[in-house]
Amino acid sequence: MENANIYVQLIGIPYNITSKFQVGGIFPFKFITPNGTQTTGGFSDMIVFAKYQLYKKDETAKTFRVLANIKQSFPTGKTTSVPPIGSGIYQTYIGLIIGKISTDVGVYGDFGYNITSNKTTDNFLYNFSIGIPLLPQKYPQKQINSYLEFNGNYLINSKIHTFFISPGLQFIPGRRILFETSFQIPVLHENVTTNKTNYMVLLGTRFLLN
């Protein structure tokens, strides 16, 4: 698909069972507007997740944490529309999250294996990001962070490997709200024959409702 605008509204509801164990659901609403055609939109694939903290080392204004991350995606999004809103498959993701955050720098890694249904190829996903605050960190926040994100995806059967690099900026004007923007550029497009991505401009906002 060429030159499309995609709007995704995610509603995430986390619940802490203990201080180490969190479960939750992600309910995405997706709207796709390809150039020159009508918008298709609706409720996309629902995800339930569980995160368990395997390791934690806390110090003054810094922390290092390792978490096991399991996600189950359900094909609740419609696939009859063009373009489709849902994937039409069940997906089970098993991965690790590693984060080292201080008030001077944040480093975050997330990688795992995604098992798919319906004879679709499984994939290995890996994400890495580094964030640096441009203003002194304080609370309540009025903060600008620069970050560099790397997103990789390797489809096991078809051996398709994509790797993107995304420089971005985050603006945090208050306690509950965050604005972010990034520019995603493909670095690697191995064995990709259709739907190559030239670039993506991402604009986002996050609200903490509670």
Binding site: S19, K56, T63, I101, T103, K138, Y139, P140, L178, L208
Partner: protein, 121 residues
Amino acid sequence: MKAKFGHTHIFSLVILALTICFSISTNAQTVNNQERIYVKIEIKGMACPFCAFGMEKELKEVAGVENVEIELKAGLAYISTPIKQKPTKKSIEKIITDAGFTVGKIEYSSKPFTIKESQNN
């Protein structure tokens, strides 16, 4: 005679009202300055503003707490409560641990602590 009695009565009421007002204002000062306990809590692992927001919300749930001040770089939180509702170290430790952080030193004082970071909202 009737009029004279009325004036005396009004004068007495004014004096009584002034006395009540004065005594209320004196009591308010006493409560604010002498009957509050100030608590400084060292919180390890609180490294980002959203972590601080989560911590602030939890500490506001402590009985008697009206305001929470946080020094992010120093990893400190400050609360105060009426002295009768003084939170125990154990109860504070539980709040911090349940929020996913590690507790350091907890200090109590009868006077407010000096906060270094500015709290410009």
